[in-house]
């Protein structure tokens, strides 16, 4: 069997989000449960139908156990792989294999975090993680991670290819313009390029606007076999392919700071889908930082290496531009609860169903979803999704 044999065999049939922005007084598990309930109901199924589960959380090493207990499910298939925020895209391939093999009938992929409003905050967690998961060859130099790692990547990209801070700002402004069309987005105030350029530096060359939001939020979606999908409530969105690549952990071990594992995951995902960048109606990519969007456009083949800056110029990826990217407003302006991969998948599904109101990409039939995980684009997972027309 090859990846190609799974093309279109599995569909996403239900999606849900909850607690996006601020979810005061709620726990990670509570908003995850609300999102899961919404996704299951969106599919026209019941929670007891979920006999497969994929989930991960940064604070809990055995998080699937917490979720099983909270939801009251008894899954026959479970995947708790945590490769950072890409996880909720990378969960697709194991779930596709399990569903296709008939090991289970419906897989719930779910995530939730109240990092913004929780009393045990990012500061305490960062301090705890240095002890639990040491990084002895970087920690003594106090990189402010993840921003500093992506700053090193951006600086190298600028040095090698002449990418400018204005190019990065174009990405942040495009994300904001999409967010202004999305009622669910957290940051919807107007933003222009000069404001980004003059903003407070966090880790040069990245300003506060080049860095993703810190919000609460939960997201869940339901996968099932294509034959079963047709009988459910909503129009199925088919997974043509999913491929994951992991190359390193720390930025100091990243061989070429300008090339991410998307180069590999994207090639494999497009090959199995039998489609290429030219066939895609949109890109939903994990913009932890503005540089991520430029790297994804290059590594997935929407432009050549080093041409990502020029690609995004003059509002090219903003509403009304030549190619829609991150139509929910992205991690930069919509929502970013620590790990964001489920949200890009859900935005692609909503677009392909035609549910996106003002921000709807007209006639959208295909989407590429690109997850990013780790402190330095360490893991990338790429999926090609499509409506029945592209099967």
């Amino acid at each position: 069997m090859s990846l190609k044999d799974l093309r279109g065999k599995i569909a996403i049939v239900g999606v849900g989000t909850a607690g996006c922005g601020e979810a005061h007084g709620m726990s990670d598990l509570e908003i995850l449960t609300q999102a899961a309930k919404a996704a299951v109901e969106d599919a026209g199924l019941a929670m007891k139908d979920m006999d497969g589960l994929c989930t991960a959380n940064l604070n809990s090493a055995m998080w699937p156990l917490n979720v099983v207990e909270g939801l009251g499910v008894r899954p026959k298939f479970v995947d708790g792989t945590n490769v950072g925020g890409a996880a909720f895209v990378a969960h697709q391939l194991p779930a596709m294999l399990a569903l296709n093999a008939g090991l289970c009938d419906a897989v719930l992929v779910c995530y939730g975090s109240t990092q913004r409003t929780a009393t045990f905050g990012r500061k305490e967690r960062s301090a705890a993680r240095i002890l639990l998961d040491p990084d002895p060859f970087q920690t003594p130099y106090k990189p402010f991670n993840p921003p500093s790692s992506y700053a090193l990547i951006a600086a190298r990209h600028m040095h090698q290819y002449g990418t400018t801070r204005r190019h990065l700002a174009e990405v942040a402004v495009a994300a904001r313009k999409w967010a202004q069309l999305n009622p669910e987005a957290f940051a919807r105030d107007p933003l222009d390029i000069d404001t980004v350029l003059k903003a407070r530096m966090i880790s040069d060359p990245l300003t506060a606007y080049d860095c993703c939001l810190v919000t609460d939020g939960a997201a869940a979606y339901v996968m099932t076999r294509a034959d079963r999908a047709k009988e459910l409530r909503k129009t199925p969105v088919y997974i043509l392919s999913n491929a994951t690549a992991v190359w390193h952990r720390s930025v100091s071990s990243m061989r070429d700071l300008t090339v991410t594992p998307s180069k590999d995951s994207g090639e494999r995902a497009f090959a199995a889908a039998g489609l290429g960048p030219k066939d895609m109606h949109m890109l939903q990519t994990y913009d932890a930082f503005s540089i991520n969007t430029i790297l994804a456009l290059e590594d997935l083949g929407f432009c050549g290496k080093g041409e990502g800056g020029a690609f995004v110029e003059n509002g090219a990826i903003a509403p009304g531009g030549k190619f829609p990217v991150n139509t929910n407003g992205g991690g930069l302006s919509c929502v970013h609860p620590n790990m964001y991969g489920a949200f890009i998948t859900i935005e692609a599904v909503r677009q392909l169903r035609g549910e996106c109101g003002e921000r709807q990409v007209k006639g959208a039939k295909t989407a590429v979803v690109n997850g990013n995980g780790g402190n330095s684009a360490s893991c990338q997972s790429t999926s090609v999704l499509a409506t029945a027309d592209a099967l």
């Binding site: 002895p136 060859f137 130099y141 106090k142 990189p143 530096m201 880790s203 040069d204």
Partner: protein, 128 residues
């Protein structure tokens, strides 16, 4: 074989640094230099990793200034330095303002004492 009576490769690297010596590894089978220190060569799988003294010179591969409030110590440099042996490491370039550290700068390693713990930092190669 790294890592038996005197602890693992990581522990031995740090013990050397604490005595003021900066050593990296070189694979006796495939001849690649290796950093960070390991017990098995990531290039060829060999366990025959020997400690060697690097020349200590290299070039800034990338750099960022981490912004920090003045009362917490102010801005500082974080750089990735590629040693002339071909391995890359995270470090800091001292002796110049952080925003003056540039990609391509030639730098030289020195071991400094950070509250009893040895660490490698760099200065401009031509600095006195």
């Amino acid at each position: 074989m790294q890592g038996n009576d005197k602890g693992g490769a990581e522990a031995r690297y740090q013990a050397q640094l604490n005595e003021g010596r900066f050593l990296i590894q070189r694979c006796s089978d495939c001849n690649h230099h290796v950093f960070f220190p390991r017990v098995v060569c990531p290039h060829c799988g060999s366990a025959a990793l020997a400690w060697v003294e690097p020349k200590g010179t290299g070039v800034v591969y990338s750099t960022t200034t981490v912004r920090r409030k003045p009362d917490l110590g102010g801005d500082y440099d974080v750089s990735l330095v590629e040693l002339d042996e071909g391995v890359r490491m995270m470090s800091r370039v001292d002796g110049v303002p952080p925003t003056d550290v540039k990609i391509g700068m030639r730098v030289r390693a020195k071991v400094v004492d950070d509250k009893g713990v040895g660490m490698v930092v760099f200065t401009a190669e031509d600095a006195k």
